[in-house]
């Protein structure tokens, strides 16, 4: 499978060492570095979205405007219902503390009516409307709100950011592939004379492509994995030291399985660059007699 990487020394000598310090591996390394960082951010965002979505899926709130005094009654109704798995009443002091972030000292004023608020979780498949009647009986004017509805805009934003990350990874792959095509054409120009001589004595396009393909693959492999290794170091430093993922996504980080995905990226970049480079060389050679 990797036979094309191991060619005879005599075959390797045909292209000589011209252009040995070429920029292609550096370009691919920069692309690979950026790709891994963006992909890691995308994966962290995906985990955050999943985590938020999972926690909000069964979460509801009962809210009674100006009904702080009915908190205990609402709590009793909820705890007595078998479809409710968890009840977390939010105390008036807690509510006033939260409101204080926006209202300042005015939030402590007794003139300010504070709603009664109880968060609760429902069993999967349970119907929240059934609870509404029971809650309304003890707290007229109470409303039940699903958390997933209030978090929907945030989840949409997170999903959009994931698609953006994926789009950036694709764009960087295309940019890396374009750099390889340009490098391949440059290499063909550099070795035009050698190619003409080889064609003249009966070399096929595939034989000539074989020489370039190996070189392109080695450049792509070296660049991809060097860039990915640098990105891995940066990610490790950020996750361990600055808690990058936590700050970015509100708690979710990267799973060990994500490492496999990130490791596959430079491999995929190598394969795509090699395939595209080979196709560019073949099509250019076929334009000659």
């Amino acid at each position: 499978m990797l036979g094309w990487l191991f060619v005879a020394p005599s075959e390797r000598r045909v292209l000589g060492s011209e252009g040995a310090r070429r920029p292609t591996p550096w370009v691919i390394a920069i692309m690979s570095f950026s790709m891994v960082i963006v992909a890691a951010a995308g994966l962290a965002l995906a985990h955050s979205a999943s985590m938020i979505s999972a926690s909000a899926a069964s979460r509801y709130s009962v809210q009674v405007p100006g009904g702080a005094g009915r908190l205990a009654a609402i709590e009793r109704v909820l705890r007595s219902d078998p479809s409710v798995t968890n009840v977390e009443p939010v105390s008036e002091s807690e509510m006033r503390k939260t409101l204080g972030r926006w209202l300042g000292p005015a939030a402590s004023s007794r003139d300010l009516p504070v709603p009664a608020l109880v968060n609760f979780d429902l069993r999967e498949g349970a119907d929240p409307t059934r609870l509404s009647g029971r809650v309304a009986a003890v707290a007229p004017g109470a409303s039940i709100a699903a958390h997933r509805e209030s978090l929907a805009p945030l989840l949409r934003s997170l999903r959009a950011l994931q698609w953006l990350a994926l789009g950036l990874v694709v764009l960087m792959t295309v940019a890396a592939a374009s750099a390889v095509v340009l490098a391949a054409r440059g290499a063909l120009d550099t070795h035009r004379f050698t190619i003409d001589v080889m064609h003249g004595i009966g070399a096929t396009d595939l034989q000539i492509t074989h020489l370039f393909q190996r070189r392109i693959a080695i450049d792509a492999l070296a660049g991809s994995f060097a860039g990915a290794a640098a990105a891995a170091l940066v990610l490790l430093a950020l996750i361990a030291g600055a808690r990058f993922a936590g700050e970015l996504t509100g708690g979710a980080g990267l799973d060990p399985s994500d490492a496999l995905v990130l490791l596959l990226l430079p491999l995929a970049l190598t394969l795509i660059a090699t395939f595209v480079g080979r196709a560019a060389v073949l099509s250019t050679l076929r334009s000659a007699l």
Partner: protein, 258 residues
Amino acid sequence: MGLARRSACLARRVERDRHLAAIVEFDSVGLRYGTGAEVLRDLDFRLAQGGFYFLTGPSGAGKTSLLKLLYLAQRPTRGRIQLFGEELSEAARDALPAFRRRIGVVFQDFRLIRHLSAFDNVALPLRIAGKGEEEVEGPVREMLAWVGLADRSSARPPTLSGGEQQRVAIARAVINRPELLVADEPTGNVDAEMAQRLLHLFTSLNRLGTTVVVATHDVGLIGATPGAQMIRLEQGTMVDRTGALRNPPAPDWPIGAA
């Protein structure tokens, strides 16, 4: 009736043998570069298998262009070319390498790969033909010794003199025992003694069955090769007043026995 049938049969056999014996056949061939005037016009000739031909003519007559058609570096803009009995004018591009491997070419400007040693330059046709290293070493050393460069095998072309480069180019052209050898001024950069030696190499190959076409201005070379035929080009057309090139006689043997 029986006699007529036998005559027809004989005529067909003669015609078939005539085609089998022709290694190269040009039929109304013309060549122009881009939109310029035709540099070769109405070329009609056949080269017999095993023949030895000198291509002569003044500078600009089209000798190099004709050689390019012979070693498949150009396609004709009109007419028909048959090589080794096969139609080339419409041959697929992928079919050309197989033809080229049967042709040895000595270029006027040598065309050696400058970063490869003399050994690797000479070995290139064998490696392209898929020969393993064990099949390359012996013949290449032998060929380099033949052209007097046994001790220069690891030298690269820029460090070789013009004559030495010429000899490496010739060694590369003949290492594969080609069926057709095309040489453009092969003795232009070597002294008289080496020219004779190279000519001897060409005639030796010719005796082994290789058809040789040598473009040259060197009258001495032509004179030293009795039995060889001369193709003269003038202003892109062939001068063949006797018609010998249309229906070439069998080669005289031994060629070059002066």
